[in-house]
């Protein structure tokens, strides 16, 4: 079949792998956006900036204090998530009584501030972050060569996505969360501290973005603009999937990553825009998104 299409299998699998890697980041980021949107009803425009912060904090930990990748995976989401909690308490919480677009504008402003500050400090050229020794090298799978770190990123993001899905859909805490998404007033009347839940949810969404940033650091160079363009693609992913379901966000993320990878094999010029074209088609056919609920 591959010979028929004139595509060598190595190129095909290579691009598929790249697509899966991109898909992992789309899934992690759109998952965070969906979790935040579910409860706060705002689109977190600073998500890309917080992803970038994740990569930078990991780099700083390694460069200034020598804390390695594995500890960074744990510490960075906590640190960046904590900044998210502060932002929610100080700023976003003041906007809940207003139109949701104000949340978008506020977080856009925050993204500009964060990106500008990092650009001032570290320039735009990008800083290297080396792959941890345990994951360097690669494995020969017979049909292709898989760099270990890339395999790890895919596995890690699948695990994190699944764990998040499990926590939200199958645990008691998740049930509270889903109930508060439907009717915060009623859930509050049952004695659950909804404002605190909202704060922690935002912190968790931001932590997911930061975790994605740590995973991305060894693959892409750590630079202040790494999240800016990515987040717009993730917005398109979110529009395609619809933010109604957690599983939908995950599947759409991985699926679109693969589609993008395949496009790069068959029609390289279109790979930058294929997701936007799919978005246009989905808007025509099913405006609420593939997994969305019509309101």
């Amino acid at each position: 079949m591959f010979e028929l299409l004139g595509i060598p299998p190595q190129a095909l699998f290579g691009q598929l792998l790249l697509g899966l890697i991109n898909g992992s980041f789309y899934a992690l980021l759109s998952l965070g956006l969906a979790v935040i949107f579910g409860l706060l009803n705002i689109i977190n425009f600073s998500h890309g900036a917080q992803y970038m912060m994740g990569a930078f904090v990991a780099w700083m930990l390694l460069t200034y204090t020598g804390i390695n990748y594995w500890w960074a995976l744990l510490i960075v989401p906590l640190v960046v998530g904590a900044t998210g909690v502060v932002i929610e308490r100080l700023m976003i919480s003041r906007l809940y009584h207003l139109d949701h677009l104000y949340g978008l504008l506020l977080t856009f402003g925050l993204a500009l501030i964060i990106q500008g500050l990092f650009r001032n400090q570290y320039g735009v050229s990008g800083l290297p972050y080396s792959i941890p020794a345990e994951l360097s090298g690669g494995t020969n799978l017979g049909f292709m060569f898989l760099p270990n770190y890339r395999g790890w990123v895919i596995v890690a993001s699948v695990v994190v996505c699944f764990a998040t899905w499990f926590a939200i859909e199958k645990t008691r805490l998740g049930a509270y969360l889903r109930a508060a998404t439907e009717n915060p007033t009623l859930v509050g009347a049952f004695g659950i501290n909804v404002p605190r839940m909202i704060t922690l949810t935002y912190g968790f969404g931001v932590a997911l973005a930061a975790l994605a940033g740590v995973l991305a650091a060894p693959i892409y160079s750590v630079n202040p603009n790494m999240g800016a363009d990515l987040i717009i693609v993730v917005f398109a992913v979110v529009v395609i999937g619809g933010m109604g379901s957690i599983l939908g966000a995950i599947l759409t993320g991985f699926g679109l990553g693969i589609v993008e990878g395949l496009t790069r094999v068959f029609y390289p010029e279109g790979s930058a825009v294929v997701i936007f074209v799919i978005m246009a088609i989905v808007l025509l056919v099913k405006p609420a998104g593939l997994f969305g609920r019509t309101q």
């Binding site: 689109i43 700023m91 504008l105 500009l112």
Partner: protein, 326 residues
Amino acid sequence: MTTQSETGYRSEAAALPVGTPRHHMVIFAVLLGLLLVAPSVLYPVFLMKVLCFALFASALNLLLGFGGLLSFGHAAFFGSSSYVAAYAAKAWGFNPEFAILLGVLAAAVLGLAIGALAIRRQGIYFAMVTLAFAQMVFFFALQAPFTGGEDGIQAVPRGKLFGFVDLSSDLTLYFVVVAIVFGALLLIYRIIHSPFGQVLKAIRDNEPRSISLGYKVNRYKLAVFVMSAALAGLAGATKAIVFQLASLTDVYWTMSGEVVLMTLLGGMGTVFGPLVGAAVIVTMQNYFAGFGAWVTVLQGAIFVVSVLLFREGIVGVLAKWLKKPL
């Protein structure tokens, strides 16, 4: 989703009465007077930049402040029109008026295509969809053979207006730009106060009610989207002739953000707010041009402060204070 529009982001000052308040005519007259004497005090190229962005922000405000639709992708229209005008003037040797007209046409067609898709979603989805399409336009501009990639289209000839008015002098061009922008602002003003504008405001304030009154809401939304895109295109094409340059900056998402910031800072849903917002932001950019990314930080900070403390914008606050719609 529908109940939120009642606590919406329109300012109190946005409740313009039917008809034309006399003080608006006075402000327009004073504005025109100021514009005519301004080049004796300020650098004409700077003034033309302010005017182009004032028009761009007013075009966005028509959509955002009066139509209630936040487009986060208006750079697509501004930028593509600027590319088309620059290309027409440079490669085909069009007169500036035809180059600008062609740019506006391109922006309107693009507005029709993007608008028809974007109005299928509401609220923040609308913002995300417009942003995503604008990014698609950006990638197109980056890769297309006729846009010059990273360099853009440089050294665009200003040409001769109608074939005999030489625009190479900054001052002559300035008065042409004043005529274009002032005319467009009056047109926007007319749209806002027309029956069409009244229906738009009704849709913005309560969409289900407008539907139940029998208005074809989507047609109105699409119409205002195309108008706004065309006017943004007019601003972009004029800018391309003035600066003799069309570049990727014009079509990047930061440009979309900047114009939203101008509108927000000046006052969404006010007639004169976008002009003030554009003047403030362009002045600030000029002043801080040497400070690198601090401009971005400052713009972000203005965004945050505006949203948290200052949602009516400068002109909105002024209007509240004077108890007159501005």
